[in-house]
Symmetry: C2
Subunit: 300 residues, 2 copies
């Protein structure tokens, strides 16, 4: 049995630190598919939209499968289409795994007791409906709320990424400035991870840390040398490859840089890019992002 | 258009402050249904389990529809059956609304930007797949993460319940003792609610506060006179009706006391209770809970 963190380190060493966020924003889909998503008010309309999302998801998967090690589907963007959307997500996750990708479900779940256990079953367990490799978690309910997921890190091959410091404008207030909740989360993660580190000194309990945090990013890197950082905010959301650099450890490992819209869709002012096929566009943008990140992941 | 808080106040005045948590714990279902939920490892097995959950959910709905004003389905317990489970939940929510119940989805969602918007669409919007009246939210991502939901409180007929102080053993550490994050959440809720209060002086932005918090409960009641309190922890989880009393305002309004397992299932040591039909058991236990709560909701 290979642990999640070993698989991730292997994949990142081979393919680079880019994680592609599989985010089917309906209003950004290529035009012929977008037109099928205009009626979300009826089960049949949602089913038709889910078919378009399915088609687009497979195009995206085909384009990125051999380019990156890991993808991060956003469950909310499938769930907004109801059970039809979730059925598509189940199929897409299965296809991604068959293509050799690690799948990190961006779900930001957090609950207690038997409910947390149900979420862990739903998202992580290999005999469950999604059977992902890892999941994002929200920590407000406290340390015990994460026990079912941490258990699956220790006993299974699974990983988690706990929200630590996010880069949205409102994140700092509750996480850092008025309540230092991020420091609590950091201590939990460090304690969970320490007994589970692999030969690279990295454990399966990672954190979500915004790529746009500037100097604060180094602080968290130093505080959590054993944790993988999932870093949103690169590209479309404002952080450069240089900004990402301090999220990596000196050996060039330990960071996953997420890009979603930046690699999946034509920018609004470059709609003409769809002269190339949607798959070609994603492949080209993925390669460009990987290239930009090379310097950030160089051992320093 | 009647606001969520007005509908809730009307319902609670008529039916009492009990909220029934619709939690299909597979291992607690009545035996003939439980036996259909043993294989969750294949799509067909999950579909069969979802059928059992559907049947049980309708039994429960029939038993409680005329007894209480509001139900709180736990989305995780449906999601563990994947898209088949979510399809059943969509049907159950629709049936509950047709029966005149308010539906509060226990989802504890929390994300940012367009993702938060997608969750709001998925759970609250009337033309969406679930179209609930209210939802529980987790606040770790900060004030801006809740904007799409608060907007639907102000402009629509919707409500939210933000996690404030939970009564699980690990809640206090991050919410109160080591990081006072609950105090931040309390200030947000108060600011959101103030411009939206109804003629009872209650707004659509409520909080989740454990019924087992003892004296701390009075503190939150005084700090948030305009907020509905959704209070888990009554009955099976340890709080008595007297413990719940300080969650109510002096006028006897402002608190929703949740009970899930306590009213839905036979206790393990009373398996013989299933000599009565599952529906009769739920009806009897719901009546008993309502009766026990009468004194707690008396104006004082």
């Amino acid at each position: 049995m290979t642990s999640f963190t070993e698989k991730l380190a292997f994949g990142v060493q081979e393919k680079g630190p880019l994680c592609v966020g599989l985010d089917p924003h309906l209003n950004r889909l290529p035009l012929p598919l977008r037109e099928k998503t205009t009626d979300l008010s009826s089960p049949s309309g949602r089913k038709q939209a889910a078919e378009a999302v399915r088609e687009w998801s497979h195009i995206a998967l085909d384009a990125i499968a051999n380019r990156v090690a890991i993808i991060k589907p956003q469950i909310a963007l499938y769930e907004q289409l109801g059970s039809a959307g979730l059925a598509v997500l189940e199929e897409v996750v299965l296809a991604a795994k068959k293509a050799g990708l690690l799948v990190l479900m961006d779900a930001k779940r957090g609950d207690i007791g038997s409910t947390a256990e149900a979420y862990a079953k739903a998202i992580l367990d290999d005999d469950g409906p999604l059977a992902c490799d890892a999941v994002t978690l929200s920590p407000y309910l406290g340390r015990d709320s994460m026990a079912p997921f941490i258990k699956r890190c220790g006993e299974g091959e699974k990983g988690v990424f706990v929200l630590l410091r996010t880069s949205n404008p409102g994140g700092a207030e509750i996480q850092r400035d008025q309540a230092q909740s991020a420091e609590i989360v950091q201590r939990w993660v460090d304690a969970w991870n320490s007994p589970l580190v692999d030969r690279h000194g990295l454990g399966p309990v990672g954190v979500v840390v915004g790529a746009t945090l500037g100097e604060e990013l180094s602080k968290w890197r130093n505080a959590l040398p054993n944790a993988w950082f999932l870093m949103p905010g690169f590209g479309a959301q404002g952080a450069s490859a240089i900004d990402c650099r301090s999220g990596f450890r000196a050996d060039g490992l330990g960071a996953l840089i997420n890009s979603s819209r930046g690699v999946l869709f034509a920018q609004e002012h470059e709609e003409a890019e769809y002269a190339e096929s949607p798959g070609d566009l994603i492949a080209r943008k993925t390669d460009a992002a990987l290239d930009a990140l090379k310097s950030a992941a160089t051992p320093h």
